[in-house]
């Protein structure tokens, strides 16, 4: 049976195996043993020599390349990467996992696109490796790996706080009773067996929890641990005088790998194709924004204007591809003298405020200060460049958050199904409108980006406001 470290490199077994390998001097030199494992893999269909990773560094890059291609390349063939699911690759794979995580931690940090990709790829690789195992081995491996991570007879739902917070799992994925997450078969039958009429408790357990939920939890926990590991490395690296040059080299080559899909397949997340800023066009606004522009009744006015409309309109006008860029920007990076803010953005926010019932500023003029604050200009009555940076420029709320904050605004249309954030809707609809009316695109000084209607990058789509 394969070891736990094959699916969880951060397990005790994984860490011990890495330690046992001792010196890691030959990370960048050809490793005949590794090459042998890959070329002798019975499932491999590698036709070119340059497709064979020859050392730890190249194997690390193949790990990520596999995930990017699997996700984005319609021509993707797993047989070119079949060595990744061969248990014999384990001891090499462990080192490449740590190398990659450390390179990302040192160079990019835990909140980077690279980190996200690493975490997602680890989850996907685990899933793939588990699928390749026979049923019995898979079940045993899942149980063994989970036992090490949970180490408790019964586990409280709050134990998964991090996973819930990062949306790796949903509370509704879990079976809860008296605060416990029910994972064990006997526990399930003892607690719920008597409530089941005309149904076999054993079969119900297998369907509702069984391997599927256990596997989900295991994968998500390892993903979270990977994220935490990258974060720890990042913290330690900040105190280092000089990072290991091998890690820096790996990080650089990683950037090249990531650059390729952005140009070839459009990997980089986001749901729309609006890459440049241009004047706001209302016909591309999502239904929630159109509804808020028409006015909000007393009760939800503040949140609608300050927390929802202000970030949406400012980003839609100045930086519609913010989630794709994955960088922190200031308003003045896009509008250096604040002309657009004063002449286009604020007037539209104020228009929405005026249309409220009663008009928002009539009884709450102080909300003008909050609008300035949400664009990053501190708590001041006048929006001035000198105050920029006193507060953060809030990113637009995700659809999920709108449903919680302002449920009455959410009246989805057919395009809403494809996106997770109103800003993505704006990008998508702008693109569609430009296709229908070519002149509109020219007038708006915008160019089509990598139009994708799928939800490749759920994190970008679901990104919430900085609230």
């Amino acid at each position: 049976m394969v070891g736990v470290s094959f699916i969880n490199p951060l397990s005790t077994e994984g860490r011990e195996k890495v330690r046992e390998q001792g010196s890691l001097e030959n990370l960048i030199h050809d490793n005949p043993e590794l090459i042998d494992v890959i070329t002798r893999d019975p499932n491999q269909k590698i036709s070119e020599d340059n497709e064979i990773p020859r050392n730890y560094l190249e194997l690390a890059l193949k790990r990520l390349e596999w995930y990017i291609k699997k996700k984005n390349d319609r021509e993707f063939k797993h047989t070119k990467y079949s060595f990744l699911s061969n248990p014999q690759i384990e001891k090499f794979d462990l080192i490449s996992f740590y190398l990659l995580s450390q390179a990302i931690g040192v160079k990019f940090g835990p909140n980077s696109r690279e980190s996200r990709l690493m975490v997602e790829s680890q989850g996907s690789l685990m899933e793939h490796r588990l699928e390749e195992l026979n049923h019995r081995d898979r079940r045993e491996l899942i149980l063994k790996a989970l036992q090490e991570l949970i180490r408790q007879e019964t586990v409280k739902w709050i134990f998964f706080g991090d996973l819930l917070s990062s949306r790796k799992i949903q509370l509704t994925d879990l079976v809860l009773d008296q605060g416990d997450v029910i994972l064990d078969r006997d526990e399930f039958i003892m607690r719920f067996g008597h409530r089941l009429e005309h149904r076999n408790p054993e079969k119900m357990y297998q369907l509702l929890i069984g391997e599927e939920v256990q596997q989900l939890i295991l994968i998500r926990m390892v993903m979270q641990e990977t994220e935490n590991y990258i974060s720890n490395v990042h913290e330690k690296a900040r105190m280092m005088v000089e990072p290991n040059p091998i890690l820096l080299e790996l990080a650089e080559r990683l950037t090249d790998i990531l650059r390729e899909p952005t140009t070839s397949y459009g990997y980089s997340g986001g749901g729309g194709g609006f890459s440049k800023s241009g004047p706001l066009h209302r016909e591309a606004f999502p239904p929630c924004v159109k509804s808020a522009l028409e006015g909000i009744k007393s009760g939800g006015r503040n949140d609608a204007i300050v927390l929802f409309m202000t970030p949406f309109l400012s980003y839609a006008r100045l930086c519609p591809d913010i989630f794709r860029q994955n960088v922190t920007v200031r308003v003045s990076d896009k509008d250096p003298n604040l002309q657009i803010v004063h002449h286009e953005i604020l007037p539209m926010i104020y228009e929405a405020a005026r249309n409220c019932h009663p008009p928002l500023f009539e009884d709450q003029p102080q909300e003008k200060v909050n609008i300035n604050a949400k664009m990053g200009f501190g708590m001041h009555t006048t929006l001035k460049l000198e105050n920029e940076g006193e507060t953060k420029w809030y990113t637009p709320m995700s659809c999920e958050k709108i449903k919680l904050h302002l449920p009455h605004l959410c009246r989805p249309d057919q395009h809403c199904k494809k996106i997770g954030n109103p800003l993505s809707y704006y990008g998508l609809k702008s693109y569609i409108l430009r296709q229908e009316q070519p002149k509109l695109g020219a007038r708006n000084d915008s160019t089509p980006g990598d139009h994708q209607e799928n939800k490749q990058d759920s994190r970008a789509n679901n990104k919430d406001g900085d609230s």
Partner: protein
Amino acid sequence: MEFKTATPQERRQYYREEWDVKDVPRFIRDSLYQREFGFDHYGRGPNDRYKVFRNSDYLRKFMRVRTPFAAYSSVAFYEKPNRRDGWLKSELVFDVDAKDLPVRSCECGSVCEICLEQAKEIVRDILDTLQGDFGLKNIYTIYSGRGYHVRVLDEEVMPLDSEVRGQIVKYMVGADVPRSKYSRDGMTYNLEHFTIPFGYPRVFTERVKKSILHLNEDIMLEDVNKKLVKDVIKNRELILNNQWGPFKNKKGPLRYKKLIKSLAFLNLSLVDAKVSIDLKRILRLPSSLHSIVSMKCTEINNLETFDPFRDAVPKFVQERKD
């Protein structure tokens, strides 16, 4: 009983003759110095914020002298509450406002005995799920003046962020349709939410059941036409008797799917979700006066026997002559 705004004299009478600082629940008095207080002195919203009281005595004096229109305290605990700085933790709160219920059995337009009873029913369900599914114990129920606040102070939930709180709210009200497709050994099985008598599917079934039982023909449901609403109302006896299978068969699988999706969305308005996810919210101070309706915001010891029209009415209302 008439809901009439309290006059400044009535507020004075309330805070000087009837109110006692000991009526402020202990869970607030014990953490007074870590909470931000906010006041509305003129009935225009709580714009006197960032107040802190070192002990109950300072709060007592303030209330007696200022006799505010409304008083609030934060659900958050801070290192420096006077600057809302150094956030430590927040209560987990559910706000059920009778006037904002998405489906109402009454037509009062504001609040009345019927919709307050309906709000109480929702609170009962929330308490049941908080205790039964989430295993939480340190829970307080407050009558807010126009509805109810459920305040959870179990230490393990207090540090949770907005994201997790958002998920708890959705679980609590049944805002996500549970999946119905389950697979095992390569086979896919269909298990509807009403066939699973525990966990989230049970919560969802119960919430949807109540929404259906309270539906009226005037309701506007997303993606559901008037005819389907009428059909649902016609057959809701089946739901009352938990005959979900026959009910679903009568509607047909596609119409049933549309219906429950729409009701899940509607359920999100059973509570004011933004109150639950806001870590720095201020909430009406229990024991204070809800001056708009002249009722006391009060801690409830026994939800079953609590009657707002008996237990939350200040003396000055009983003494009113008009």
